[in-house]
């Protein structure tokens, strides 16, 4: 069997890049960012190649691309197993990481400029952790990558504002609790099956019988889902998120807010649909129900808390709590449309939040603050940036033809199909809540004159147009929102369909 090494190259490129940066710094400080971009570009190329190979395999009816590390065949060795979901996620992670890296040229705070090589080193390791996390086919390897993401994530948060270390410490405590829960759940699975390979464990879990084994499986499921729920900031386990986001550097938030919490959602998807193969009426419907209701609460409470914020970044953080609710609500429905909506929203929300956090970074660079109450008339001074904000906002609210509309559409369809009318109402009502907190910013930016008369002159002259390295990533992300929206039907048909159908056991061959 041919084993393409493309998935491995993603990890190798990012890892070598992370190690090379401190060395490059000794030669030339100006070469740090270009070097980081170079290795990131290599990783993007390798992920494009991987995705290409995987999609070709899927079209041919084969499930996944498998690379055996060190030549040891699974289930004994560690394998990188890339199916459609992994391919989509790894592509998303690397493309957004590349965009944010470009943005960071001017977006990085002055304070960090002298030690930028360490920042970028951690940044590449963070991206590597996420790439490995979504590709590995080994449960313990998954834990290692989870901790790579977490450790670099703590550091990337801590280098932010002066209050950031405290926020990062709370993140360490609760994040480690999540990882420990995952490890504990895994211990049960390992004890029951004696294996750590995804496919092998899933096969043996399906064969286990008897009430004792079922009870142990349920305990394991509870620990695994709770562990990843903490990582995904599922309500009520979200307490670490708002502070960590609000105090971290804008560059960190743009990447972490976009794909960081999606890792938890990805983990939950893997546990539910690869390991346990849950169905809507199966043994684990109670777990799904609980997750569904928590997600519904997350959607409503996250939105309400977002409305209460005056700090733009904190508002977006609470909005993330609410949006991850949509993703997990979709996963909890366990039917075709619900899962489609969940996975699609995972992709769409990553792109939207990346755009929004980059816009936030751009605004902070020019205004020096992110107080929503002082945004009056901003649209006239930063027309392009605020237009991008507008598009991303429309998408968050769910107005066609932006991407956000389609994922919510599938979620509503899924809720109807599952007979969950309360969820339908919650999804629709939450769109109104989203509209409240996004449109009030657009109203201030575009329709209000600047009322504060005193520093007008100085204020206006201070606002220069943004540099190209900031506008380009924002523009690309905004364009991606529209493309994801307009192209959502082919994406659902060819990319997400092959994820959802085998997950629900609907695959034909």
């Amino acid at each position: 069997m041919i084993q393409p090494a493309a998935p491995l190259w993603i990890i190798v490129a990012l890892f070598v890049g992370a190690l090379a940066l401190p060395l490059v710094r000794r030669l030339s400080a100006r070469a740090v960012l270009p070097t980081a971009l170079l290795f990131s570009t290599l990783a993007v190329a390798a992920s494009l190649r991987t995705a290409h190979l995987v999609f070709a395999l899927t079209e041919a009816g084969e499930g996944a691309l498998s690379h055996h590390l060190g030549g040891w065949p699974p289930p004994w060795g560690i394998e990188l197993r890339v199916d459609n979901l992994s391919a989509v996620m790894v592509l998303l992670v690397n493309l957004l990481s590349w965009l944010v890296l470009l943005f960071s040229h001017r977006g990085l705070p002055e304070r960090l400029k002298s030690r930028a090589h360490f920042f970028y080193s951690l940044y590449l390791l963070f991206t590597m952790g996420m790439s490995g996390f979504v590709m590995t086919g080994d449960l313990f390897n998954l834990y290692v990558f989870l901790e790579v993401i977490a450790l670099t994530g703590y550091a990337l948060v801590a280098v932010g504002d002066p209050e950031a270390p405290f926020a990062a410490f709370r993140y360490v405590i609760i994040g480690t609790l999540g990882a420990a829960f995952y490890l504990l759940g895994l211990a049960y699975l390992y004890g029951l099956t004696g294996s750590l390979n995804f496919v092998d464990v899933a096969r043996q879990v399906a064969l286990l019988e008897g009430p004792e084994a079922q009870r142990a499986l349920l305990v394991a499921l509870a620990f695994l889902v709770t562990g990843f729920g903490i990582k995904a900031a599922l309500f009520p386990l979200h307490a670490w998120l708002p502070d960590a986001y609000a105090y971290s550097p804008n560059v960190t938030t743009a990447l972490m807010g976009a794909v960081g919490i999606k890792m938890g959602a990805y983990g939950i998807f893997r546990v539910l649909y690869t390991l346990y193969r849950v169905g809507p009426a199966g043994d684990y419907s109670a777990v799904l129900d609980l997750m569904g209701w928590l997600s519904a609460l997350a959607i409503i409470i996250g939105s309400l808390l977002a409305i209460a914020q005056t700090d733009l970044k904190r508002m977006l953080a609470y909005s993330s709590v609410s949006q991850i609710g949509y993703v997990l609500l979709g996963f909890s429905l366990a039917n075709d449309d619900g899962l489609t909506g969940g996975v699609l929203h995972m992709i769409n929300h990553a792109v939207m939040k990346c755009a929004l956090f980059m816009v936030t970074g751009a605004i902070v660079t020019r205004l020096g603050h992110r107080d929503i109450r002082r945004f009056d008339g901003l649209g006239r001074h930063l027309p392009f940036t605020m237009a991008a904000f507008g598009v991303a906002s429309l998408s968050m609210v769910g107005i066609p033809p932006t991407a956000g509309f389609f994922s919510k559409w599938y979620l509503v369809l899924g809720a109807v199909e599952g007979g969950r009318w309360p969820f339908v109402i919650i999804i629709l009502a939450s769109s109104l809540l989203n509209a409240i907190y996004f449109f009030r910013i657009l109203e201030r930016a575009f329709f209000k004159e600047r009322v504060d008369p005193t520093p007008t002159e100085a204020w206006v002259s201070k606002i220069k147009p943004l540099p190209g390295t900031m506008l380009l990533p924002v523009g690309v992300a905004t364009l991606a929102i529209l493309i994801l929206g307009l192209g959502s039907f082919p994406i659902v048909e060819h990319v997400i369909g092959p994820i959802v159908r085998p997950a629900l056991g609907l695959i034909l061959p």
Partner: protein, 122 residues
């Protein structure tokens, strides 16, 4: 109550108590250093839980013995130990990051009591 059975599985009781102490420390203690210690105790609990899967009755060290040969039941399972070696390394790294953060917090706020720090952040 089946005391014999409870005593026979004493290792699980010890591990459960360790983990509960850890989680209690992380959640209830107001001092950040004590929270960190709780975190470490929880990690030790999880590590011991894995190691419980390792030994076998009459099993020896997992090093191939000429006189016994490749007889699976004669050796302890080395995999949990190898896994936990990794987990210990990860735990050390986490503790290192957390301690570095505590130094930064103490420099800024002059205390490690969560309540006092929250008071200052208001």
């Amino acid at each position: 109550m089946d005391f014999e059975r409870i005593f026979a599985s004493y290792n699980y009781w010890i591990i459960s108590v360790l983990m509960l102490v850890g989680v209690y420390g992380m959640m209830a203690k107001r001092n950040l250093l004590k929270k960190l210690m709780g975190m470490n105790i929880l990690q030790v609990g999880v590590i011991l839980f894995y190691l419980t899967f390792s030994p076998k009755k009459g099993g020896i060290l997992p090093v191939l013995e000429e006189s016994i040969g490749p007889e699976l039941d004669a050796y302890a399972n080395p995999l949990p130990q190898a896994l936990m070696l990794t987990a210990i390394v990860v735990g050390v790294a986490t503790t290192g990051v957390a301690l570095a953060l505590l130094i930064r917090i103490h420099r800024r706020h002059g205390t490690l009591e969560e309540d006092e720090i929250l008071e200052k952040l208001r």
